[in-house]
Assembly symmetry: C2
Homo-oligomer: 208 residues x 2
DNA sequence: CCGTGTGAAGTCCTTCACAGCT
DNA sequence: AGCTGTGAAGGACTTCACACGG
């Protein structure tokens, strides 16, 4: 009813999605919405949305629906997006730089506090106001920062080593972009974003 | 037994993953592997792997396991990765450029045949040997190429419009990187890679 | 005897359908 | 009357456990 027993990834990801959609409604000036209208507009499931929300309590008004501002605010708090989370980016190749740039827009609840690369030509240079450290110094530098989450955007061949350096440096979570199956550390929450596998899935269904 | 009834995304994604792992074994010189050894080495499930493969036939030898080369070859064919698939990249910002660069390594079964952006300073310039077209010309240019899959890496605000232009131009599949819920076209297979939502999931579980 | 291939069991996730609140 | 919140039904995915082939 009130407290998260153990919430599934799928539900959590949808909650993020709902919040994003609610913000679109806010921008459009919509103040109230029912689960049915919401589902139709964004091509989602109304009953699933209600079930997802039910994990955390009651958010709506029977007979009326949901107040957009209220639901958005409550989801923001619930997901912890009213706090700033500090990130370390490991691997400042083109992907790492793109992610860093994207995350540096400061209306977001994420802030980059450390950057690493193995390339001697990049080390010491600045990206924004941030010095790039050598990857070998991860265990030394991370504890001096408040970084909780690491974004791992190194080549597949270097990913496992970097991952392990991060785990010993006290990082709490890792978002991996390297196309490799990491041997996971149980105390570090780890997710992979694997665009290659998604592309291969699409390719499978093509006619020719 | 033999023919794909209707294969799930989850199974398909794992098949891609198995193939990737098998290639690591090939590089290490391993010629034979049982599902148990494989699962232990890569932290996967042995019985699930066998079930996944069972969708497509029999691949192993009872009492022995799998021949690495053979299984890798059969998965490659099965997933259609022995053919080249042509891509269009829409949105040549830092993310689109990073993806383009990554995909241009030519041992991969993907080849970029068209690139688009709205930025007048980029249009007409070349990325590698490829001219960047204006996004408004998508419906005109795409049919002249053999592009089957589009990679959509534009800002969220432009994603829906670009998506629709792509669908009318005859694209068969879209891999969306924009953090927005697309209104999907039924004839176009569409997947989203949403790194923001994954990051928010990690943030949820952090202590402070 | 070992490991695959596979029905059956179990678990997790989604949809249905309706009681109850507004 | 309309819509939420929710038990119960249904479906999808994973794990179990063992018959069978090598």
């Amino acid at each position: 009813m009130t407290e998260p027993a153990e919430i599934s990834s799928l539900t959590l990801n949808r909650l993020s999605l709902y919040l994003r959609c609610l913000r679109q409604l806010q921008d459009a000036g919509t103040t109230h919405v029912s689960s049915g209208q919401f589902a139709q507009h964004f091509e989602l499931s109304a009953s699933l949305m209600r079930k997802d929300l039910a994990h955390f309590g009651e958010f709506g008004i029977r007979g009326t629906g949901y107040r957009v501002d209220d639901l958005a605010a409550r989801l923001t708090t619930l997901l912890g997006l009213d706090r700033i989370h500090n990130l370390a980016v490991v691997g400042m190749g083109s992907l790492g730089s793109a992610l860093a740039r994207y995350l540096s827009f400061n209306d977001k609840p994420f802030r980059i506090v450390a950057a690493f690369d193995v390339d001697g030509r990049k080390v010491g240079h600045k990206i924004g106001h941030l010095v790039i450290h050598h990857s070998r110094d991860i265990p030394e530098v991370i504890p001096q920062t408040e970084a909780q989450i690491a974004v791992l955007s190194v080549p597949a061949s270097a990913a496992q080593q970097c991952y392990e350096d991060l785990t010993v440096s006290g990082i709490e979570a890792v978002l991996n972009f390297a196309p490799t199956q990491l041997k996971q550390h149980p105390a570090v929450r780890t997710k992979s974003v694997d665009f290659q596998i998604n592309l291969e899935e699409l390719a499978y269904f093509l006619s020719s």
